[in-house]
Amino acid sequence: MTEPAITKELIEAHGLSPDEYDRILEIIGREPTFTELGIFSAMWNEHCSYKSSKKWLRTLPTEGPQVICGPGENAGVVDIGDNQAVIFKMESHNHPSYIEPYQGAATGVGGILRDVFTMGARPIAAMNSLSFGEVGHPKTRQLVHGVVEGIGGYGNCFGVPTVGGEVRFDPAYNGNCLVNAFAAGLADADKIFYSAASGVGMPVVYLGAKTGRDGVGGATMASAEFDETIEEKRPTVQVGDPFTEKRLMEATLELMKTGAVISIQDMGAAGLTCSAVEMGDKGGLGVKLQLDDVPQREENMTAYEMMLSESQERMLMVLDPSKEAEARAVFEKWDLDFAIVGETIAEDRFLILHGNEVKADLPLATLSGSAPEYDRPWEATPAVEQLDPASVPGIDPIDGLKALIGSPNYAAKQWIYEQYDTMVMADTIRTPGLGAGVTRVHETGKMLAFTSDVTPRYVKANPEMGGAQAVAEAYRNLTAVGATPLATTDNLNFGNPEKTTIMGQFVGAIKGIGAAVKALDMPIVSGNVSLYNETDGEPILPTPTIAAVGLIKTEDEAILGQAREGHVALLVGETKGHLGQSALLAVVYNRIEGDAPPVDLEAEKRHGDFIRSNAALIKACTDLSDGGLALAAFEMAEAGETGVVIEESDTAHLFGEDQARYLIACNFDQAEALMLAAGQAGVPITTVGRFTGDTVKFGTSEAPLAELSALFRGAFEEAVG
């Protein structure tokens, strides 16, 4: 079949700039073939190459004694003792989800699960962080329904419990929703599988589902802004099949036990191209592929289509040839394709054959290593004016609380998480709803805690502080269940990096995240960058999602109880009443003003350590974030089915969002002991009230718990159900 001629329009349609095309000419010394142009486009787009972000990602702390493998592989690997490792990553599927919410979100979950089991880990927990446009926007409801059903449809069938997540609504996401999917798996620390190929003449094996035309050019699509032609992009969204993924996972894990796997890589963005190049490059080898042997779902597929297809549920593996029969039998048992499609070669070549023709012949190491890298100009976000506290009129505290819990941003999210299987595997200790999700490490006394956090309005006001705050909140959420934070994965969602202001947000956020993960000892072990989240020039709020994992070594360390009638309410940390960029200011006064709350990393660490060292004295604990003391006290009371009396009635003290704070429920004797311990540790602590009765009372303002609970539990469904 003749391939189209390379024209200026064709180059542009592949998202390659004239400079980038010149660079291709320089590298190969001739005009590329159509397939080669596609391959370069796939390798060099923003999504795969991180060309705008790489310079800054390198500055992030990625090491620590707990880290077995940091960024660069399919997912990060972290030691949890007893020769066990937790393997995790978060990845965005924003652009596809906006175009086709169900399949976009579903395949986002599929992709992240594959990243985890490719490394030899059985997925044990999933989370998702979702950002949608304002509730009244005509697309929002359809996106929420589609995305949530897509996540559930995939994860529920696959059989991984969804244990946490977050969702927000803001007009800035009207034209670009965010779907960030997280997965974590468990493996033996000495049985981790990596992507580097080794050995010349080793068979390259194609595993899993057949290749179709779905998703051709998907990664390039995800690296562009949206405009009115968005509907035309629907065919670039892949279609997920969780049943095949489940079989692929079981077959892959079974295959790994046979010793047949030399290296393995899942086919995600830019499918066969990216996976083959990565395995070859990491192993210092060339790769030859014979495309006629690729299992195909459709007829007359071209080399170009096969190399760029993003069909789901596929893997590429370098096989130990002496184990071929055993390996093939495993895949036959699970009724999946197993085909030798090529071999590793000594020369530095990426050689693609189809029929009797050479469709591509490129220097592999250069193809992989020479992706452009940009030092994009950036402009620091100017400092914003502090909010004048006197400009915020006081509010009746119960009215303030009702405004928050009646808004979909702060209402209970059970409408979402009850659509997810939160308990499959029967190791879930704490289902979503309040703070971190917790699962037991099967057949051990250990537990893992998972959280996902970011407050985009803070990041917009002050990228550096907002970046640090996201990490600090994740740290606190893990701490509040008694976990020691281990490591972090970041999913950095921003607008168009070619704009200096957007790049400034990115750089600022990275600085804040870097400082915080260093201070709190939770290095970045994996992550993903999603840029160009803009529609018609309107960017999203800067949204660097931070997902973090913590370890609870024994049951004694865990804080998993509920507030009960008679418990004392203790507040740890200092309250100054910071209302700038607060939830109350936004929801009640419709004002997005002031600076993000300052983050004192040293105080975060000290207060976190205090909670962990005194876990035995604490019945229940929650971190204070959006909505401050008022929302935390209500949520804790609501979860414990008890009323609460808080003496404070000052608006700023109740709704301020000062950081490094926790609310504790414990009995009287424990409260005394905690006050003593806090004094010794130099940690501010105050008794703010107690859990009792069947009303929520702030100062003299009071309402029945049942009434507030009904509002809290019903508002989300009312808004988008």
Partner: protein, 222 residues
């Protein structure tokens, strides 16, 4: 007691069910769907939750025609014990071992949450650990748990005391709030809720445990 847990390629509660049975003291064999024979001496067959063959067609329809299900039917017809949970219940209705069908939930959504059940007066080994009328909390997790039988069949189920468990607050639209039913000889149970997910303190409740403990005791007497 020797239990066999059937594993379809899309089963995902097979391990959970095996763990619950083992903790109650059973010896458990996992049996692959392509096998044609059950291990010898099997007393109880467990058909676990999950998405047996993806359930893109009617849930459990393909599984009911898999090689091992012929042996499951034979086992039941010979008076053997079979328990099907969630997808397992769907499979059992598709094999015809239990009456009725499981339709899409009335709200058309997947629902996963703990629900309150009433233990019905039903004389089966699966009820041995409970009192009739007792209220228990067990999680559900399904998209297609809306049980349907026609009026005549419903009357018959009631007459014969074959309603095993009922929802106190019907989550999915099931006819007569039915959460589970048994066969005429009371040896085949199908239920949508997952007792294996509420069988240890760490699960946040143990209301599912008496089912496994009770059936172990009864099996010892059989």
């Amino acid at each position: 007691m020797h239990a066999a847990v059937i594993v379809f390629p899309g089963s995902n509660c097979d391990r959970d069910l095996a763990v619950a049975l083992e903790k109650a003291g059973a010896k458990v064999s996992m049996v692959w769907h392509k096998d044609t024979d059950l291990p010898s001496g099997v007393d109880l067959i467990g058909i676990p939750g999950g998405f047996s063959f993806g359930d893109y067609l009617r849930c459990g329809a393909i599984a009911a025609n898999s090689p091992i299900c012929r042996s499951v039917v034979k086992h039941a017809e010979a008076g053997g014990y079979v328990m099907g949970i969630c997808n397992g219940f769907q499979v059992l209705t598709e094999t015809g071992l239990l009456p009725g069908a499981l339709r899409r939930n009335a709200n058309l959504k997947y629902i996963c949450k703990p629900v309150k059940l009433r233990v019905e007066a039903c004389d089966s080994i699966y009820h041995a650990g409970y009192e009739a009328g007792q209220e228990i909390t067990i999680p559900i997790a399904h998209h297609d748990g809306n049980y349907y039988v026609d009026d005549a069949k419903l009357a018959q189920l009631k007459d014969e005391g074959r309603i095993a468990f009922s929802y106190i607050d019907n989550p999915n639209g099931s006819v007569a709030d039915i959460a589970g039913v048994v066969s005429k000889n009371r040896r085949v149970l199908g239920m949508m809720p997952h007792p294996e997910r509420m069988a240890e303190t760490a699960h946040g409740g143990t209301d599912g445990k008496p089912m496994f403990d009770g059936l172990m005791r009864e099996m010892a007497l059989v």
